[in-house]
Symmetry: D2
Subunit: 465 residues, 4 copies
């Protein structure tokens, strides 16, 4: 597939990052245009998948592709059409039961762990459902919707973008369970991924550089200024946080480092792990990151393009928080807090998100400027942090809680974020399967510490003394 | 669908019942013809199902439709082609891993509970796999196969017939989990089912008649005489069993009786249940047989033709052993042993199996001859037992164990039956979804006592004193 | 402890075995005397155990010692005193809740798996409860009880004997979970057990002898003649069973044979196991019988007298049905049915039960008479089967079901046996921890096929052709 | 029992709160004296418990009383005696295996969930173990120990104090599982608890007062100055935190408020709960706080003194975080962060801990000074917060994570706190079963959000705008 999402849309999407405001195009695409582009991308992502592929659910956390397609449609139907369009009749009376995810206030739902049993509506009928709702939405927008409805359309766009990434995470898990090692797309591994030539283990360029940041009171989170564009409720309010002096690795944790951890017995040494993490290692029998495989030919990794050899210099992806934390401890480092990460990211030019359908796997870092005369940001003094976005979500040391002064949106959409603020950790940055324009420096993703099927990796941090 | 399996094939298939030998057609269909008919019927049964339908697995016991289609193919490929055809190359090197069910001696397998995640090969590719193996089998039979190979073809036919019934049981369970109440086929409930007109609860003809059998030493099981046709290893050897005098209900347990049990608090009275059964009732929250639903409109039942009202006079189906046992106890009766059942069935003209695609649900009994002058069998003195086959499998009081002198077949096919001889109970008779010609009076089906998704019901028995 | 239960009571207890009627003392001890002896033995068995020992519950199947002491007391209190003594006031209003085991018709109960949390009443207070009920029972018997009450006293005696064995099984499991390898009693392993001198593995006398039995119709079960003494309801009615010709090993399966099974990879070869058995092996990680331990010093076994080396010629004990079945299959044999076993036992002089507090572990067989002139029974032609009682319960191939014509006792005591007749297998013979006079040739013990904490072993059987 | 722990020790123990430094006694008790007093209190707490009581474990989180007594002894033996006393021989070679709790670096351990099966050593033998180690410790201290060893003795004292509270929490849970509603001690409920006379529901004084705190950068945590006395590693380093303006309820959440929550359907309204909390409510069937019971006589509560009626004005105890969070949301409030709480507590005179053996249950607040002229602290303007210590641990909104710059102690004691820093929430303040002198304003307790068996309640907080 020669047309990548990045090529066609990256320049036309707004950046939500206030620090890079000059890059925002003057002519914002209209809401309707962005809605249409988002809806189209979902279908484009489902295109390579057969009806069978779109039906399966490989674990409770995973949803079938066609369920994602239907649920995102239900979201618009329920919160926009059924609420704001006077005579709107839902496409099917039972679809609310089947495709509500977790909105308790909307009504009862099909059990989450059994979404794979919903064989009907089939993939084609879900397509018809999407077109029905798309048409009704377009008409409603044309006819004029009140501001609250437009806000919900905007929310629905960002919601659907989240499900685009989930769709790819989930189908990767489904396909990985099949001994045939099937491909989502036939990725051209070598030219797209292999920037530096194949790098054997132990020769991936050695230790990372370290970017220092001074102690001080910084601000994180989104200002309430509407000019900054859309953000989720959990990114607000912007507030001061005191940081000690710290430094961040200038690249992501890579395969070479994790192989050294494995060789050093890391998965067999309880003293390196959080107590709950060690219990999980023992129960699950973890010996390496998810999707890694070892056989007589050495280490390989399952990707959306099938199975291929691991590269020493590529970022590690599909780590749990427990693993990221243990590897950091083993390395004499720690994970950054979300405030430390955001402070560093605010100092950099922040890429607004990728999703190159020829890649779909995190790439090695670009080589450093050999003579980095000046750092790019006020906080750091080196060449800045690479790979802050577009490769892997970075686990932070911060549990997912509300910011001081957080306010939940009224009604059922108030369930969107707030009710998950326990037993999860924040991830930052966005990954190679995050849709264009979706992430920001202030964006807060979150998963339970045992989750590994997201495109999650990490960056090391250390106290500066 | 106007052409039923029964219409086209029932008269051309051999009866294995020696007591009805005169009904066996003189011209037995050749093995190849029967093979082809069996293979065709499987595809015919899968025909109404979409690729999505064919992929889902609703619980560990259920297998996806396309898995059944592939597994039965793998059975022929592995035990016949790969073993007896010198240069045969398996269709795909990984299909053995994916489609081996439980043959430990053949090699490792995809986990049973995760068959729903095998999205590839898809339904169409499974069709190609089937055609490939069909062609190779036909050629091998034409070229001549040794007797042991022909026996395994015969076994493969009966194996595939068992999976035809499993396919229907399993897809019924899959579809039942969907709030849309989807149909496998649009059955014409009323004319096909409603023989006597609608029968309200409490007016289903009262108590059953009772067919008496005298005390004595009887023989059960298949003789070794090859003229009796195919049987499974677990039906042999034929052996004497001493029976006390007993009587059997002349019809199956019906809905009317189970509604009375429910009204009498049957699902809330531990004294009626086996200890393990009561624990299951409490854990699972059973309040009625599987697929029954109660709402403001009264009792309905989910069938392969969707949801429809219950009829008081139809046989109860989808009972566990625990329920059958408890209802029998409540009724002052008990379940028959398999010897009692077989002794009675041997005295009757035994229908060789049904599967009418317009019915797919057990039917009420035909009315009795009003002036039943003479019983049909030596053992009984009444009009004989109705509904001994073709409606529901009948739970017996007999745990599934080997007959005295049982010998397991050598090699992997020896795993077919013997290794399941614990923690299961025998069912007899065959159901409305059993393929034509599959069952015999000596046929031993078996399920764990908690299983409810088979087409299982029961017939009451009592001691005669 | 020099006074063994056997020494003091064996000669004064009635044998229920009609074949050994001449050994029954002319003066049957009165019911009251036997009641008192039984009640005393329970306390004698609890004597070596501290209050702490008497409190613990190591798994759901195990009950604490003091719970057994209280439950057996509750049985008499509930079914005799509260029912037949007009003004009897239960010792404590909540003891019924705490010490009812499984009698649904008596009322709700403390959860079985949480009996270990009942710290009060303590061991001493349970003793007071026992004395209170003992006194009330003695008085009631003196005052005269109706026949039905006396039958229930008789039942209570046999019930308490069953709990005496359970008490020893259970405390063995409790103590085995402690790294200190604590002793119940300091058994003198060598003289009591070591009859033939230490026998290394592989030299335990080779294969067993085989005792043949002819084909024919035999009778099993207890006649209704009251002169035969007490039996449980599940032993009746006596009824004919047809047996093929068979032979039984003339001794129990021994350690030597199981070590050979282990050396031959028996615990790693699925083809030797029932399907449910293999699943259990994998889930539980079984590598050898329960209580065996292997370290640098070789094989040891945990006994009620602590840990000691295994002897090659001692009977294997603490096998599950799954293991007994697999080992028999590996040995080219099978397990006997309960009818085969009882037919053989009826032909032998049947020991009425042991329980030597200096032994508490099964002993090697006594050497054969070198010149065995005549077999003892009509059925066999050799020297007869040794070790039919007093060493280990022998797993049979027979699932535990009711005999033809079985009738459940009315009322709550009807729950005693019948409701367990599913998912269990019958064991025969009685063990080294069965109290004196408790077992008979017709006695039917039963456990689920995965249970290993009973004193269970097996004897091999084979078809004779 | 007329002598309370508070009376005898409270005035002699150091306060770790730097803001109340003038209250620290000039003559610190020597380490040896404090060690002896702590060791003695443990035995005093175990005194009312029988050997049976001391053995039981009612759930995996609970440890038996005698296990606590032995484990705290093992802690001193392992980290002090075996490490620093040259010729010390452990009391028993297997006690390390039995009584190590979670120190992976010390070696393997008896499984946590099976501590109830350790019947030996018994309660008396554990007493002997304690005396043996006490004597060796006293001798070692007399002989002179290096500073690191003395630090570990100090740590061992605080460790044992934590287990004193656990001992009481745990035995309360054990006793609560018994239908007899047994007492730990016969508490005199009325005079000790009933300060204001019985207060019916709905009349408990209405809403709390609210204590305001201004926005600003505050410091929390212990300074490194050794003059501040002992603290755990997780209380350091002291560091700045920015707080928004907020207010705290001037008393704990009380029974009256929770009854109103229940009456308002709080346990049946998912919109009030965190997602994981609601799942727990559904799975566990929660309808009210732990140990509450409702019957025809109204609401009662199980206490260490048995069962008694609830009082409307007493603090609610045995709440999970999920419940505290949901009730706060229902009340239009939230839980305070640990920084907010500590900032408020630093402004108050901080009671150093209670444990009155006549109370053992949280008490209603003392009445306010009717004319509160001046608040006690700089931050607040009212009368200050009551009940900041000595009644219940207060759940905070803060997940338990390390403070910025946290350093783990080297060696196995480094496992003490750090490895639990995930999936837990911080509680502050200390409870009615916290031993004297144990807590500080900086003290961080922690439990998983579903835990309810600690003496945990909460105080409401609100943003000030």
């Amino acid at each position: 597939m020669t047309i990548t999402a990045r090529d066609t849309t990256a320049t036309t999407l707004p950046s939500a990052d206030p620090t890079t405001a000059t890059e925002v195009p003057v002519d914002l695409p209209s809401l309707g245009t962005r809605l249409e582009a988002t809806r189209r991308l979902t279908e484009q992502l489902a295109e390579p998948l057969s009806p069978e592929d779109q039906t399966a659910q490989s674990m409770a956390d995973v949803s079938p592709t066609k369920w994602h397609r239907a649920h995102t449609t239900w979201f618009f139907e329920t919160f926009v059409l059924a609420t704001f369009v006077a005579d709107y009749v839902p496409h099917h009376p039972e679809f609310g039961y089947l495709f509500n995810s977790y909105y308790e206030q909307v009504g009862p739902r099909h059990p989450r762990a059994a979404r794979g049993v919903i064989t009907r509506p089939g993939a084609a009928e879900v397509g018809a459902y999407r077109r029905h709702v798309d048409a009704a939405l377009a008409e409603a927008i044309d006819d004029g919707l009140p501001p609250r409805a437009l806000e919900l359309v905007e929310l629905g766009i960002h919601h659907e973008q989240q499900h685009q990434e989930l769709l790819l995470m989930d189908i990767k898990h489904v396909l990985s369970c099949n001994a045939l090692d099937p491909c989502y797309l036939a990725l051209d591994h070598s030219p797209a991924v292999d920037i530096n030539g194949s790098v054997p283990a132990g020769q991936a360029g050695g230790s990372p550089g370290w970017e220092p940041f001074a102690e001080g009171l910084v601000e994180i989170g989104q200002p309430t200024d509407p000019a900054t564009g859309f953000c989720f409720d959990n990114e607000r309010p912007r507030h001061p946080v005191h940081l000690r002096a710290y430094e961040l690795a200038d690249r992501l944790l890579n395969v070479d480092e994790v192989l050294a951890f494995i060789d050093d017995g890391g998965y067999h040494r309880p003293e390196l792990w959080l107590s709950d993490g060690w219990a999980t290692v023992c129960t699950e029998g973890w010996q390496h990151p998810l999707y890694w495989q070892h056989d007589d030919n050495g280490w390989a990794v399952f990707t959306l393009g099938g199975r291929r050899p691991l590269r020493a210099d590529e970022p590690v992806v599909h780590l749990s928080y427990y693993e990221a934390d243990a590897i950091a401890r083993w390395a004499g480092a720690r994970l950054p807090t979300e405030a430390e990460w955001e402070h560093a990211a605010a100092a950099e030019s922040f890429d607004t998100g990728l999703l190159d359908l020829e890649v779909l796997h995190p790439r090695p870092p670009t080589p450093r400027r050999t003579n980095g005369a000046a750092g790019s940001g006020a906080a750091g003094s080196g060449d800045g942090c690479r790979q802050l976005s577009g490769e892997v979500w970075e686990w932070t040391a911060s549990p997912y809680v509300s910011y001081p002064g957080f306010e939940v949106a009224p009604g059922a959409v108030g369930e969107y974020n707030g009710k998950f603020m326990v037993n999860q950790h924040v991830l930052r940055g966005g990954s190679c399967v995050t849709p264009p324009g979706h992430v920001r420096a202030t964006y807060r993703n979150f998963f339970p510490p045992s989750a590994r099927w997201a495109f999650s990796g990490c960056r090391l941090a250390r106290d500066l003394r």
